[in-house]
């Protein structure tokens, strides 16, 4: 499996190289994007293959991989939004808080207000869009540092979550529980369990949403005018302005999309855990930023790839799985490994940037 992925990556690289002759500036950017993307993919494949060879146990089962997807569907979606903001040169650390607020609000709405599923989904999207719009307006039109704005957004969302409802509780709404339990079988990848029965491999609905998000945003970034202007603004705001791009609107839209993704991610998260709690998704903003960075999005903006972010999330959760399956399952090891990985990738980025100057 690994070999094929590497091979296709190689042919992609050749394709990019042939494209390179097109125009100077863009080609330089593309090689950076590709270099970082290749590093990420190689790291992920080496890690997963290593786990398959040395740890065996669960890693040989396809379901382990699908479980990683199931558990991280929400993270994939929020990370994609985060990547877009980071490509545009900003950052949004409020996503974890928004996810918690969305799941708590939807839980309260479904259980205490007797709401229906469709309205709860609209509620989730509304909350996400509201956060994105306010933060985007402050960042883009008032020119306030995105970090400060979204730090305030994070604390506001966390505080609001406890104001909406303090105690954590499980949602008992029938339609919701049915939706939560829906499993989509993946044909041909099941395993035979100890009793000799064939068990189908499955993914949850959230994974489909996540995959659609990745594909849509990938296409938007690659082939639409808006997507290209995200890169242009992130690469150099001044020259983007001179090229006639509406810089303010682009920055605003990047935050709006990130907010929307946090809203969708929040609903998917809610669908996965099925409860509302103020401590949900704690540290998710850090994981989202880490995934984007590992996936090759440069903090300085202008460079990044949604597919890389997807692989970044997978790498992050794979290393967490490896750490816990080699017996270091005390809670602190997860934090330390994530931080160490983030540190390594940040330094790689910094070296690449230094090489450019």
């Amino acid at each position: 499996m690994g070999k094929i992925a590497e091979k296709t990556e190689g042919s992609r690289l050749i394709m990019e190289k042939t494209k390179k002759t097109g125009n100077g500036l863009k080609a330089a950017k593309l090689t950076d994007t590709n270099l970082l993307l290749i590093i990420t993919i190689v790291v992920f494949i080496v890690m997963y293959a290593g786990a398959m060879i040395f740890l065996q146990k669960g890693f040989l089962k396809p379901q382990t991989f699908f479980n990683i997807l199931n558990a991280n569907a929400a993270l994939i979606i929020t990370s994609c939004g985060m990547s877009i903001v980071m490509i545009t040169g900003g950052i949004d650390i409020s996503v974890g808080g928004v996810v918690a607020l969305v799941s708590m609000s939807c839980a309260v709405y479904l259980d205490y207000q007797g709401g229906n599923l469709f309205m709860s989904l609209l509620l989730a999207l509304g909350i996400g869009l509201a956060f994105g719009a306010v933060q985007g307006a402050l960042v883009a039109y008032l020119d306030i540092q995105p970090f400060i704005v979204s730090l305030a957004g994070m604390f506001f969302a966390r505080g609001m979550t406890t104001i909406v409802h303090t105690a954590p509780f499980n949602v008992a709404n029938e339609a919701f529980v049915a939706l939560k339990g829906t499993r989509i079988n993946v044909p041909g990848l099941g395993t035979v369990n100890k009793l000799g029965n064939y068990v189908n491999a499955y993914v949850e609905i959230g994974v489909l949403v996540a995959l659609v998000t990745v594909v849509v945003l990938f296409c938007v970034l690659k082939w639409t005018k808006l997507g290209r202007s995200f890169y242009a603004v992130g690469g150099n705001r001044q020259s983007a302005l001179m090229l006639g791009i509406n810089v303010k609107r682009t920055r605003f839209l990047s935050h709006l999309i990130c907010g929307l993704m946090a809203g969708i991610g929040g609903y998917v998260y809610f669908l996965h855990v099925g409860s509302g709690s103020a401590s949900h998704a704690s540290g998710m903003e850090m994981n989202a930023i880490a995934s984007s960075i590992i996936g090759g999005t440069l903090l300085t903006g202008g460079v990044g790839n949604i597919f890389g972010t997807f692989v970044g999330v997978l790498s992050l959760s794979t290393i967490q799985n490896i750490v816990s399956s080699i017996g270091l399952d005390q809670a602190w090891w997860t934090g330390i490994t994530v931080a160490a990985m983030l540190c390594v990738f940040l330094i790689i980025q910094s070296v690449i940037l230094a090489r450019k100057h």
């Binding site: 950052i91 402050l138 039109y141 008032l142 020119d143 306030i144 540092q145 970090f147 400060i148 704005v149 730090l151 305030a152 957004g153 994070m154 604390f155 506001f156 966390r158 505080g159 609001m160 406890t162 104001i163 303090t166 103020a278 540290g283 850090m286 930023i289 880490a290 960075i293 903090l299 300085t300 005390q330 809670a331 602190w332 090891w333 997860t334 934090g335 330390i336 994530v338 931080a339 160490a340 983030l342 540190c343 940040l346 330094i347 980025q349 910094s350 940037l353 230094a354």
Partner: protein, 360 residues
């Protein structure tokens, strides 16, 4: 004649408005006025005796003085970091947990019975060294690898509390020695909380350093324009790095206060969200969050104003979990008011108003 006079006072007012310290003072007065109107008993201070029989002052104002001092100490370092690097350190809460953990490890050790195994000074110095090392780590990432400060400190923010738990092997050592509680409580015979004196000591040291060395000037120069300060013979890398190390020192002092209050540690809760308060203090002090000019005293005042706000909210039975929502609103209001575009618009609006007056 009267016209001239009014212009004079107007200018004075404008001058005051332009002063950096105006924002925290105005916020403080506003909060004080609010409390005075709603419930004057907020300002009541009573002299009582604690369980040991020492005289202590209690009241909301004393709480502000007590807990505000922690934020004030951090605000010193945070102001320097902000000024030099143009970013903020969001790992201070986690770093406080590490410093506290080191103090407990040195003083009590693993599986100890709670008696002191080493002098308190040794524990504190060990915490200083460790906290400064972590500060130096952040500093290296920011200064040498040129990573944005907030993202660089994100690493320690993610890992810090885990490291703190790991230092003590996830045990919760308890110090039974009464002498240790002095730093977070009261010195016998003096009714004012000790953290206030520690804060004063830190501020005095910081002001002396700024007065007798070029640190302040250099920090401003680096913050305003890093490359031109390098062309002028400064070493921006070193100055940025140094500001993070100084913040590490401040973190160690707060770690001492925090562990002394409890005589033990709770890795996930200790100094939670204190980074928000420290950053807020710097912002409230009117310092430019993107680096450059700074005013330590304004930040210190900002720190106490933040605590004033926190205490006021607590008094109105706002739960500690909901507190961040209100503070976030304050932050947003502050940054919006101080945003250059808003300032410009307000200025233009004021001028047009004046013109209309003149025309009339």
């Amino acid at each position: 004649m009267t016209g001239k006079k009014s212009i004079g006072t107007e200018n004075k007012f404008a001058d005051l408005f332009r002063r950096q310290i105006f924002i925290p003072i105005a916020a403080l007065l506003l909060l004080a006025l609010f409390n005075l109107v709603v419930d004057p008993s907020f300002f009541k201070i009573t002299l009582g005796h604690n369980s040991v029989g020492d005289p202590v002052l209690t009241g909301y104002l004393m709480t502000i003085l007590d807990y505000g001092s922690e934020v004030a100490i951090l605000a010193i370092g945070m102001t320097l970091v902000t000024a030099a690097s143009g970013g903020q350190d969001i790992s201070v809460g986690a770093a406080v947990a590490i410093a506290g953990s080191v103090i407990l490890r040195v003083l009590v050790g693993l599986g100890g019975d709670g008696t002191l195994q080493a002098p308190i000074l040794v524990g504190f110095l060990a915490a200083c060294v460790v906290a400064m090392l972590f500060g130096a780590f952040n500093g290296v990432l920011v200064a040498i690898f040129r990573i944005q400060p907030m993202v660089a400190t994100l690493i320690l923010y993610t890992a810090g509390r885990s490291i703190a738990a790991w230092i003590n092997n996830n045990e919760l050592p308890i110090i039974t020695d009464k002498g240790f509680t002095v730093f977070g409580g009261f010195i016998p015979g003096i009714p004012i909380p000790t953290p206030f004196f520690l804060a004063v000591l830190c501020v005095v040291i910081a002001l002396l350093v700024l007065k007798f060395t070029n640190l302040g000037l250099y920090t401003q120069a680096v913050g305003i324009n890093s490359s031109s300060s390098r062309l002028n013979g400064l070493n921006p890398t070193f100055i940025k790095w140094l500001s993070f190390v100084i913040l590490g020192l401040c973190v160690a002092v707060v770690g001492l206060i925090k562990t002394s209050r409890l005589s033990t540690i709770n890795y996930s809760v200790i100094a939670k969200d204190i980074e928000m308060d420290a950053i807020l203090a710097v912002a409230l002090g009117g310092n430019v969050l993107s680096g450059g000019k700074f005013n330590i005293m304004a930040s210190i005042l900002g720190a106490y104003v933040i605590q004033f706000l926190t205490t006021t909210l607590y008094k109105f039975n706002v739960s500690s979990d909901a507190l961040p929502a209100y503070k976030a609103v304050v932050v947003i209001m502050l940054v919006v008011i101080s945003a250059p575009t808003v300032k410009e618009k307000l200025g233009a609006w004021g001028r047009s108003l004046k013109k209309q007056k003149g025309a009339a």
